[in-house]
């Protein structure tokens, strides 16, 4: 029996031949061989449909129902159509929180990408020993669980016993004795930003560092010989190479920072999150879960999804269009 996969000429030849029974068995075999890849990916697709698809379907149906604590206990919701969406979109708190979260996301993503890229550029220039130490430190930061990091940061910035207040006072930067870092909304969110940026830098740095390996050295040397300063070299030689990587990193950062929950909720503290310092992740948790209005929470979640998707799409189109023009 031939082991060669039959091609179109064979098929044509078989179709014209008088042996009809032989043609049928060969076409079944072809169907079987053609469908083998789909059988192989079927388990993965089934798992993904169960783990991702089913909850998404439930979330969408939940957002159209009135589903509070009594409905939760009876496992049956009341269909109310677009009521939840109308209630959310008419709520001032929603729009305030959205604005605050957009500003917060821009600040976080900006700081993460800029600082991450700068550290990656530094990694290229230093000696091997320093590079290993720096990379080791970054990996340790990356590996630290979020809840532990929040607790340590809270202790460091503590009102009474925090080391941050102590050091700043000792260095005579000012009188930071018992300075409350969580007194104003701006202060609270700045602490959260510092924590998130600190945790996000390692991923950006290591990815950009890998990307920098693709920058052609001859081009850099040629540019330097022609008299270009470091900024010009970066703008004209390095940045175009890094563009696709930065595109991905910025999209990911937007998605993560827009919906961030653990750091703000734990650092600000459950008893201090309120309408004046909500971020979208915390808002959906308090409105939906803590107030036991699950239908409304689902509506807010879906609106968040739409927003992050449109933010990302707008941004990617912008970047890709700029690429095409060049």
């Amino acid at each position: 029996m031939s082991t060669r996969v039959p091609d179109s000429t064979d098929v044509a030849a078989e179709a014209l031949s008088p042996g009809s029974r032989r043609r049928r068995s060969l076409s079944w075999a072809r169907v079987w061989r053609a469908s083998a890849p789909y059988w192989l990916i079927l388990p993965v697709v089934a798992v993904m449909a169960a783990v991702l698809g089913y909850p998404l379907y439930k979330l969408v149906t939940l957002s159209f129902q009135q589903y509070g604590l009594p409905e939760l206990i009876q496992r049956r919701g009341v269909w109310v159509g677009l009521d939840n969406y109308r209630s959310v979109l008419g709520d001032e708190v929603f729009w305030d929180t959205l604005f605050r979260t957009v500003v917060f996301t821009v600040a976080n993503v900006g700081l993460t990408i800029v600082l991450g890229t700068l550290i990656a550029l530094l990694l290229v220039r230093v000696s091997t020993v320093v590079r290993v130490l720096l990379t080791g430190g970054l990996v340790l930061v990356w590996a630290m669980p979020v809840v532990v990091a929040v607790q340590v940061w809270y202790w460091m910035t503590n009102f009474q016993n925090g080391v941050l207040n102590y050091i700043l006072t000792q260095l005579q930067v000012g009188d930071f004795f018992q300075h409350d870092w969580y007194a104003t909304t701006f202060s609270k969110l700045s602490m959260v930003t510092l924590l998130i940026v600190w945790g996000a830098i390692p991923f950006v740095t290591i990815t950009v560092y890998a990307g920098l390996a693709h920058v052609p050295r001859e081009l850099v040397e040629a540019a330097e010989i022609d008299g270009a300063g470091p900024v010009r070299v970066f703008r004209d030689v390095t940045f175009p190479v890094l563009k696709p990587i930065l595109l991905i990193l910025i999209s990911l950062s937007i998605i993560w920072d827009f919906g961030v929950f653990a750091q703000p909720y734990l650092l600000i503290g459950a008893s201090h999150v309120d309408t004046s310092n909500y971020l979208m992740g915390v808002y959906v948790f308090i409105e939906g879960y803590a107030q036991s209005d699950f239908g409304r929470g689902a509506a807010i979640s879906l609106l968040m999804l739409v927003m992050v998707a449109s933010l990302s799409v707008l941004y990617i189109r912008q970047m890709v269009r700029a690429e095409d023009v060049r």
Binding site: P43, L69, F159, Q160, S271, T275, A290
Partner: protein
């Protein structure tokens, strides 16, 4: 070649089936375990009482084990909601008396009216606690314990500064100033109160005749912006500024007042009676007195906090009731009383500091949505704004009052 591909595809399919069935056959928890959710207050305050009740239950029901899982006040309701949705609720749960109404109205608990007479001292339950466990004429919660707020203080520091136990707020403020002069470390608080401790702040409001909210024509109305309540809030601000070096925006668990006290950074603290459990090296010099009112000779109204024990839907009612009976019998109640709590029965009431403080008490509005006011931190935000001078007392109280009216009247 075709044979190999068929074998490969069959192998992968078999793996997938095996993987999904393996995750399904997880080792289930022992069928004979009673799951009990208590708060961490019991874990730090009276673990021996819990252990004794467990031993008593196990002796009476051989083959059964008790799994006590300790919860924190901030997270236990969300965890409870998750178990309600999944159908794996605990058999017994401790609920704060301010949290009961919402869950009773939603039908989360089993009816214990028939078993009421089997609980120890059910004929003499403290009315304030028993009322929080009743809804629609049925009994859903068994009173567990109550506590008022008292002042736990360092007798040695008071003696050194020449301060006697105050009989009015003004005397207390004067005493606090003397303590502040004697102990001039910048982080030392003559009276440690966390800025947003609304249990203490609302005591001042009720002392001056104000209220958090009232019902009017079937709807709730926030009343913190009325003159008497404003007077109380202003008095709280005066007292805080004279006596506490705590953060103006922190709550009474970050840090725990007794931790500040145990580090030697406070001459006294206001809190539940059982705070005396955890004062570290100062146990010998620690005593308690009743917080005075602004009127001489009277105690300030104290928040009568307390807990009930309920049996959620899906729990084993008979065994849960048996465990609750073991945990709330006379031995347990006497032990709880010795730790500085108020027992659930009038038959064991004495004249301890805690019990004398409870003679004048206040309670939160008995509204279905009161828990949402607490979860939304409306009172804490108001206090934070008042103490940091971000808003005047009147402005902050008006905002809070509007929010309370809105939240309590929600669906």
């Amino acid at each position: 070649m075709r044979m190999r591909k068929i074998v490969a595809a069959a192998f992968v399919a078999a793996l997938a089936v095996a993987a999904t069935s393996a995750t399904g056959a997880s080792g289930g928890s022992a069928a004979n375990t009673l799951t009990v959710w208590l708060q961490v207050d019991a874990q730090s305050g009276w673990p021996d009482v819990v252990a004794a009740a467990n031993a008593q239950f196990k002796a009476a029901n051989p083959g059964w084990d008790v799994d006590v899982q300790y919860q924190t006040w901030g997270t236990h309701l969300q965890k409870f909601d998750a178990t309600l949705a999944a159908g794996n609720t605990p058999d017994v749960i401790e609920m704060g008396n301010t949290e009961m109404t919402k869950y009773m109205a939603a039908g989360a608990f089993q009816d214990l009216t028939a078993e009421k007479s089997s609980f120890p001292n059910s004929a003499t339950w403290l009315e304030g606690l028993a009322a929080s466990g009743r809804y629609g004429g049925k009994v859903y919660g068994v009173p567990y314990y109550a506590g008022s707020r008292v002042v736990t203080y360092r007798a040695d520091l008071f003696r050194q500064a020449g301060v006697k136990i105050p009989t009015s707020l003004n005397e207390f403020i004067a005493g606090a100033r003397k303590l502040g002069t004697k102990n001039s470390a910048k982080s030392f608080s003559p009276v440690y109160i966390a800025g947003t401790d609304w249990y203490v702040a609302m005591s001042f409001v009720y002392d001056y005749g104000g209220k958090i909210a009232i019902t009017s024509k079937g709807k709730w109305l926030g009343t913190l912006d009325r003159p008497k309540a404003l007077a109380g809030l202003a008095a709280y601000k005066r007292f805080f500024n004279a006596s506490s070096r705590a953060s103006k925006t922190t709550d009474e668990t970050r840090p725990n007042p007794y931790d500040v006290y145990a580090q030697g950074n406070a001459a006294s603290m206001i809190g539940p009676g059982w705070f005396s459990c955890c004062v570290g090296d100062y146990k010998g010099q620690t005593a308690q007195f009743v917080m005075p009112s602004h009127t001489k000779g009277q105690p300030i109204p104290g928040f009568l906090g307390g807990s009930d024990l309920a049996v959620p839907l899906g729990g084993d009612k008979d065994l849960a009731a048996a465990w609750i009976g073991a945990f709330t019998d006379n031995t347990s109640m006497t032990a709880l009383r010795a730790k500085g709590n108020i027992p659930n029965t009038t038959s064991l009431l004495g004249s301890s500091v805690n019990e004398r403080a409870a003679r004048r008490s206040w309670f939160v509005p008995t509204a279905k949505n009161w828990v949402n006011v607490e979860n939304g931190n409306i009172l804490r935000t108001m206090l934070s704004r008042i103490l940091t001078n971000k808003m005047t007392v009147k402005q902050a109280a008006e905002v809070a009052s509007d929010n309370i009216t809105f939240t309590l009247n929600q669906r």
